[in-house]
């Protein structure tokens, strides 16, 4: 009996050790060995990453870029839904291999993770209620401006218009309503979201844009630091998408002239300049 206990203890210990043993190969080799790329995407940001209710899957601009990277690596794509607050911890704790989750570049984020080349450039714009006394961008100095929690607009606004008082809400609709109800003077958001709100509001006349844009935010795919081979493979895949015109096709599918966003592509895949 005693021997049996000892043996089982030993077996348990051995099992635990085997389970704890880290994988030694680099991430690119791991992914190829597994044959799966686990990609973190947003579930509720149309048209970037959102649940297509009729199909029951997450689709969007971000998803298509991740799928293209997986294809280029010759592996299957596995999507994992992440929240905007938890996306970077999910990556750091290896629950996902890569993030395609509306991840705007900020220096603070770049200290935590590596960014691929930019696959999207987002114009960040201030919007006000029609008839507002604010007419140009810098009129919002000292005014209250709403945005979404966890958004890099906070950093951007802090840099460009530091006197604006930022009020952040849980989601874009709340931030938008607070502007529509006059609780804040303006709303800072991406051009994509602005066009979406304008389209939903019908004639799009109830909001006005303050020019010029507050800034351009470059979005990259996020990978863990210390994985140069993997990062290089991701960057190669993105460059390839640009040369073949597939990057343009993905853009047009989700944001192009035939969508409610009616946007034209004014950027190319290129390294993010800090």
């Amino acid at each position: 009996m005693k021997t049996l206990t000892r043996i089982s203890t030993l077996l348990l210990a051995a099992g635990a050790l085997a389970w704890m043993a880290p994988s030694y190969a680099d991430q690119l080799a791991d992914i190829k060995a597994k044959g799966v790329l686990v990609c973190g995407v947003m579930p509720n940001v149309e048209p970037m990453g959102y649940m297509d209710m009729s199909k029951g899957v997450v689709v969007g601009y971000d998803v298509d870029f991740c799928r293209a990277v997986a294809t280029s690596l010759g592996v299957k794509l596995e999507l994992k839904v992440v929240s905007s607050e938890a996306r970077i911890p999910e990556l750091l704790e290896k629950r996902v291999d890569i993030l395609a989750a509306i991840l705007g570049y900020t220096p603070a984020r770049a200290e935590q993770i590596d960014y691929s080349q930019a696959y999207f450039a987002s114009n960040q714009i201030l919007a006000v209620k029609k008839g507002s006394p604010l007419k140009v961008r810098d009129d919002v100095a000292g005014k209250r401006v709403s945005t979404m929690k966890g958004s890099s607009n906070l950093v951007l606004m802090h840099r460009e218009i530091p006197t604006a008082k930022m009020v952040s809400y849980d989601d874009a609709p709340s931030a938008f309503i607070s502007m529509a109800q006059g609780k804040v003077d303006a709303f800072v958001l991406s051009e994509v979201m602005l066009r979406r709100f304008a389209a939903k509001l019908g004639d799009g006349n109830s909001i006005e844009i303050l020019k010029p844009a507050v800034g351009v935010e470059y979005w990259g795919l996020g990978v863990r630091k210390g994985e140069p081979q993997f990062l290089a493979a991701v960057n190669d895949a993105l460059s390839h998408l640009e040369t073949t015109g597939d990057a343009q096709k993905i853009f047009d599918t989700w944001l192009g002239p035939n969508t409610l966003y009616k946007m034209t592509r004014d950027f190319r895949v290129s390294p993010i300049q800090p």
């Binding site: 607050e85 906070l154 009020v167 952040s168 109800q181 609780k183």
Partner: protein, 232 residues
């Protein structure tokens, strides 16, 4: 796992100030909500035992409504809903003078008042009826007998649950974050978003909420000792 914690960044500006302001906002919000909730709670409890059928029924409906709708729904209703019924001038005045604070106070205060009123009511009910009868036979009116005889005993009896709900109220102030109120949880999320020091910022928040809650518990224990009546 990486657990080399870096609190230095949180002690640097602007993050330190942001956290300090968050803590101040939370405490101010807590104080305002508590005054409203306790004041209204006592009033509701007294009305509930007043013997006026209509008033008692109204309080019962109020308490069920507050207790059976989630706090977050109350917050949104006040901030985005009821606020729009006010005249435009009033709305813009409130907007400029901390609407987040005002509406959070109203929503949380009214919500927690229902709980406090139930605490006190159960205290009132456990004061023997002979106490009221004795007070009334000495010539005291309804309010005087409540104020000097029944309520002190009722509060004494309900102090433990009262302390408990005070702590619940304090922790519930964190929900005001959803309205853009810059309290502690809001500040923590904001700082976390800019620094990505997830563990560190949430450790700060945990220590803050824990410390204040423990302080409130200690205050409750002290209060219970101070007001202990002979025979209880």
């Amino acid at each position: 796992m990486y657990l080399d914690l870096n609190f230095d960044a949180l002690l640097a500006q602007p993050f330190f100030d942001e956290l300090v302001h968050g803590a101040q906002f939370s405490l101010a919000l807590f104080a305002a909500c508590w005054v409203l909730a306790v004041g209204l709670g006592i009033l509701l409890a007294v009305v509930r035992i007043s013997g006026l059928p209509f008033a008692e029924r109204a309080v019962a409906i109020y308490v069920s409504y507050q207790r059976n709708v989630p706090m977050l729904a109350h917050l949104f209703l006040w901030y985005f809903g009821i606020s729009t019924l006010l005249p435009a001038d009033v709305q813009s005045w409130i907007g400029l003078h901390g609407g987040e604070f005002i509406f959070s106070t109203i929503a949380i205060g009214l919500y927690m008042a229902a709980y406090f009123s139930e605490d006190i009511r159960s205290g009132l009910r456990s004061v023997p009826g002979g106490q009221t009868e004795a007070a009334r036979s000495l010539g005291m009116g309804f309010l005087t007998s409540i104020r000097y005889v029944v309520l002190p005993q009722a509060i004494n009896i309900s102090l433990p649950t009262f302390t408990n709900h005070t702590i619940v109220l304090f922790k519930n102030t964190s929900l005001a974050m959803a309205l853009g109120a810059a309290e502690m949880t809001y500040a923590v999320r904001e700082v976390e978003n800019e620094t990505f020091l997830t563990y560190e910022t949430y450790i700060v928040a945990t220590v803050f909420y824990l410390a204040i809650s423990l302080l409130l518990m200690a205050a409750g224990a002290v209060a219970a000792k101070r007001v202990r009546l002979p025979g209880h």
